[in-house]
Symmetry: D2
Subunit: 311 residues, 4 copies
C-alpha cells in the first residue's frame, strides 16, 4: 500500500494521513501539488491520496475540488479532521519569543497567528515560506538567518527542532478537513453516520437552478454539510456544485435523491459514500419516518401493487 | 352490463353516461343521489356509475369527492365532458317566451339562464324543481300550472316536449365534468393523454403542508388540472385534497410522484388513471427531457450501477 | 339593514344568517339562487348576503365561488358555521317512522340520512324536493300525499310541523360553512383569529404553477384552510384558485404574501379579511418569530438603512 | 488614496488592483496576508484592499471569505477579473526550455503548468516558492541556483527578467476573481449589470435550511453566481453561506429578497452592490415582468390600497 499526499512531509495533510489505520507504517510519498497527488493515484503510482477539501491553511482546496470534479474518476473512501494548531519552533539560543527577529512560515499560517505574534514577538520579521514545513526546516539550514518558524506539531515533532510554544493560533478550535481518495472500487459499508459527496453541473444558469438541485435533497430529508460553486472553466456562467451530504448511497433516501439529480443533471458525478469523521453531526430524530428505508420500501410496494393491478 | 347515474333520467349526468360506448343500449338505472349510485356499484347491483366531479349544474360534486375519498374503494375508468346548455320547453299553446307566466327548473339552472330570462320572459315566475328533468316533466302533469321549463337537451328530446328555444344559457362554452366509476380492477392502458386522480390526506395542518404535497408533482413535471380541499369530517383542520393530474401511473414520472406522496401521506388513495376527455390539454413540449420515462430509466440504472459497484 | 340569502326560508343558509348579530330582527329576503342573492347586494337592493362556501347540503358552493371570483366586486365580512343536522317532521297521525310511506326532501339531505332511513323507515319512498324547506312545507299542503320530510331544525321550528325525531343524519359532527358578503368597504379589525380569502388566476398552465402561488404563502408562514380550482369558463386549462388562509391583511406576513402574489398574478382578487368562526384553528406557537410583524418591521428597517447609506 | 493588496508585488492580485482607475498612479502597499490587507483598511492605514475571492492561484480565498464575513464591517465596491496566464522567465544564458534544471514557483502555479513542463522541460526540478513573484525574483539572486520561474506577466514585465515563453498554462481561459474592499460607505450606483454579495448564517442545521435561503432569491428571480458554505468556527455543523448574486440593492427584487432573508437569518451581512466585471452575464429577457421594479411598485400600491380601504 503506497500513500501520497499534498507535501512536503510534516504538513497538516500528512497529519491527516497518519490518522488512516496502517498509514504510519506504510510508504508515504509527498506530492508537490494536489493535482500531482491525485494523478499518481489515477496512474497507479500510488494507491490512495490524502488531500485537503475544506478550510486548509496551506491551500489546495480548489485544486482538490476541481480535479476530483473534472479529471479521471476517483472515489472518496474516508475523511479526516485535523485541528488547526501551530507550534513556534526556534533555533538554538532563542529562549524567549521577544528575542526572535525573523520568522519563516507559510503566509496563511502567519495570518492565523498574527495577534499572538504582534503581542509576543512584535519586532519579528515575517519570511514567507512555500509551506510551514519548509519554513521550519529552514531553521536547520546553517546558511539561513531564520530565528524561528510557525509550523504544524507534526513537523516539530519529527525533526530536531526546539518547540518554544504550543498552540499559538489566534482562534482555537478550527479544524481542517481532508479526504482520502482512491481509484473507483467498492463503497465502504454504511455505518449510520456517513457522508456522500457529489459534483453536480448546473443544468442552466437561471434563477432557481440551484434550488431545483437542492430540492432533490430536501424532498428526501437529506442534509447538506458543504456546498461550493466552482467555475467549470468553460466560460463565465458555467458552474458546478461540489456538495457534501449526510447519508450513504446504500440508504433509500440518498439513492432516490441521486436518481432525481441524475434526471436534472445527467453528468453529475458520485464521489463516494464514506464514514463521517469527528463527533456525530446527525441528530437521528431529525430523520422523519417518511424518509426511512422502510417508508421508501412501502411506497415502492404500494405503487407496484397498483401498477400490477393494471396488468 | 348495468349502469347507474345521478338521476333522474334526462339529467346532464345521463347525457354524460350516453357518451360511454355501449351505454345507450345497456340498462341505465337512475339513482336518487351520488352516494346511492356509488353504493350500488360497491355492492354489485351495478357495474359502473356516472357521477359529476366538476362544475355540475345539478349538484353532487361534493358527494362524489367525499364518497370516492372515504367510502369503499372505487376506481375511475373514464371521464366525460358535457356542455352546459339549456333548452326552453313549453306546454302546448305557448308560442313566445313573453307568454310564459311560470317556469319550473332546478335553482342552479335558473341562475345560469337568468339574464336571458329577464330579457325574454320578464314576468315569468320561477317554480323550484328538484331537478331540471323533474321541472320539465311537470309540464306534462295536467294538474300542474307550469307553462315552461329549463332543461337539458336530453330530456327535451326524449320526452314529448315542445322546445321553444335552444341554448338559452347566459354563458356559452361552460362544461360539466363527470367520471365513470367501477369496482377496482385493471387500469386502462396509457393513451398519451391521460389523467390520474388521487386523494391525499394532509399529513399535518401547517404552513407549507400542501406545498410539500405539490412539490412531489412539480419535481417530476406533473401538472395539476383540479384541486379541492375537503374537510375529512373528523374535526376542523383535518383536510384531504382531491387532485386530478395529467399523466398515467404507467409513466415513470407519475409512478415516482405517487411513491413520493405515499411516503409523506401513507393513506393516500389512488383513484385511477384514465384517458382525458375533450381537446388535448397537454402541450407535449412541456414534458422536459428529464421527466421522460427514458430519463427515469437512465437515472435508475446509474444509481444501480454505483450501488452495484459497492457489493 | 336588509339581508338576503340562498332561500327559501328555513334552509341552513337562513340558520347561518340568524347567527349574525341583528339579523334576527332585520329584514331577511330569500333569493332563488346564490347569483340572485349576490346581485341584490351588488345592485343595492340588499346590504349583505349569506351564501354557502363549503360543504353545503343544498348546493350553491360553486355558484358562490364563481360569482365572487368573477362578478362585480364584493367583500366577505364574516363567516358562519352551521352543524349539518336533520329533523324528521311528519304530518298528523304519524307516530312511528315505520308508518311513513313517503318522505320529501332535497336529494343531498336524503343521501345524508340514508342509513338511518333504511333502518327505521325501510318502506318509505323518497320524493325529491327542490329544497329541504320545500319538502317540509309540502306536508302542510293538503293536496300532497307526503307523510314526512327531512329538514333543518330551523324550518321545523318556525312552522307548525311535528318533529318525530331529531338528529337523524348518518354522520354527526359535519358542518357547513357560509360567508356574509357586502359591497366593498372597510375591513373588519384583526382579532388575532382571522381568515383572508383570495381568488388567484393561474398565471400559466404548467407544472409548478400552483406551487409558485403556494410558495408565496408558505414563505411567510401563512397556512391555508381551503383551496379549490375552478375553471374560468374561458377555455379548458384556464383555472383560478379560490383560497382561504389564516391571517389578516393587517398583519405584515399576509400583506407581504399578497404583494408577492400580485406580482405573479396581477389579476388576483382580495375578497376580505374577517374573524374566523368556530373553535380556534390556529395554533399560535406555529407562528415562527421570523413571520411576526416585528420581524417584518426589522427587516424593512435593515434594508432601508443599507439603501439609505447609499444615498 | 492608499491601496493595499495580497502581496508581494507582482502577484495576480496586484494585476487586479492595477485595473482600478487611478491605482497605477496611487500608493500600493503589499500585505503579507489577506487578513493583514483587510485589517489595514479597517484601521484606516489603507483606503481600499484588493483581495482574491474566487479561483486564486496563490490562495487567500478562504481568508477573504472568512474575514469579510466575521471581522469588522467592510464593503465590496468593485470586482476585477484577471486571466490566469503564466510566463516562463529564465536567467541569462538559458535559450531553450530543455536547458532548464530548476524552476521556482508557487505550488499552485506549478500544478497549473504541469503538462507543459513535463513536455517541454522534463528534467527541470520544482523549487517551491512562497509566491510566484518570490520565485521569479530568486532568479535575480546571485546566490541562488534557480534557472527559471513561472510567474504572472506583471512580475515578468516590471523586473529585469527574460521571458522565454508566454502563456504556458495547461488550461487557457481560466480567470481569477478579486474584489476591492473599503470601509462601509456609499453604494455604487446601479449600472444594470451589478452584483450583490451577502453572508448568511444558516439559521438551523436541518434538511431544507439552505433551500429556504435560496427560495428567497428564487422567489424574486434573483440569480446566484457563487455560493460557498464556510464553517463559522463555532463548532461543527455551524455554517454560513457566502453568496454572490446578480442585481443591485437599489432594485426592488434584490431589496425584497434581502428583507426576506433578514427575517430568516437576522444576522446576515450585506457586503455590497457593485458593477459586475467582464462580459455580460445576465440575459436581460430572463428578468420576468413580475420581478421588475414596476411589478413590485404595483404590488405594493395594490396592497396599500386595500389596507387603506380598511381605515
Amino acid at each position: 500500500m503506497i500513500f501520497t499526499y499534498l507535501g512536503p512531509a510534516g504538513t497538516f495533510t500528512e497529519s491527516a494521513l497518519l490518522q488512516v489505520p496502517g498509514a504510519a507504517e506504510a510508504e508515504r510519498v509527498p506530492a508537490t501539488s494536489v493535482n500531482n497527488a491525485l494523478d499518481r493515484v489515477r496512474e497507479g503510482a500510488a494507491d490512495a491520496a490524502m488531500v485537503p477539501i475544506e478550510n486548509s491553511v496551506e491551500g489546495g482546496v480548489s485544486a482538490t475540488l476541481d480535479s476530483i470534479a473534472t479529471g479521471g474518476s476517483l472515489q472518496i473512501v474516508a475523511e479526516a479532521l485535523v485541528p488547526i494548531t501551530f507550534d513556534l519552533v526556534v533555533r538554538d539560543g532563542i529562549e524567549e519569543p521577544g528575542q526572535i527577529r525573523t520568522v519563516a512560515t507559510h503566509g496563511h499560517a502567519w495570518a492565523q497567528c498574527r495577534s499572538w505574534s504582534e503581542a509576543n514577538m512584535p519586532t519579528a520579521e515575517f519570511i514567507p515560506a512555500s509551506s510551514t514545513a519548509a519554513g521550519a526546516l529552514s531553521i536547520l539550514d546553517e546558511k539561513s538567518d531564520v530565528d524561528a518558524a510557525i509550523c504544524s506539531p507534526l513537523v516539530a515533532q519529527e525533526n530536531p527542532l526546539k518547540v518554544l510554544r504550543h498552540g499559538i493560533e489566534d482562534n482555537a478550535g478550527a479544524v481542517t478537513r481532508f479526504v482520502l481518495v482512491r481509484r473507483p472500487g467498492s463503497i465502504p459499508e454504511p455505518t449510520g453516520r456517513d457522508k456522500t459527496t457529489v459534483v453536480i453541473p448546473l443544468p442552466e444558469d437561471r434563477p432557481g437552478g440551484l434550488m431545483e438541485i437542492l430540492e432533490q435533497f430536501a424532498a428526501r430529508g437529506v442534509n447538506l454539510s458543504r456546498i461550493e460553486s466552482r467555475p467549470t472553466g468553460q466560460g463565465l456562467g458555467n458552474y458546478f456544485f461540489s456538495v457534501d451530504t449526510h447519508g450513504h448511497i446504500g440508504e433509500a433516501r440518498m439513492a432516490d435523491a441521486l436518481a432525481g439529480l441524475h434526471r436534472i443533471s445527467p453528468n453529475l458525478r458520485f464521489l463516494g459514500s464514506y464514514p463521517a469523521a469527528g463527533p456525530a453531526q446527525i441528530d437521528p430524530p431529525s430523520l422523519k419516518r417518511h424518509n426511512t428505508d422502510e417508508a421508501f420500501a412501502q411506497a415502492a410496494e404500494w405503487v407496484a401493487s397498483i401498477r400490477g393491478a393494471g396488468s
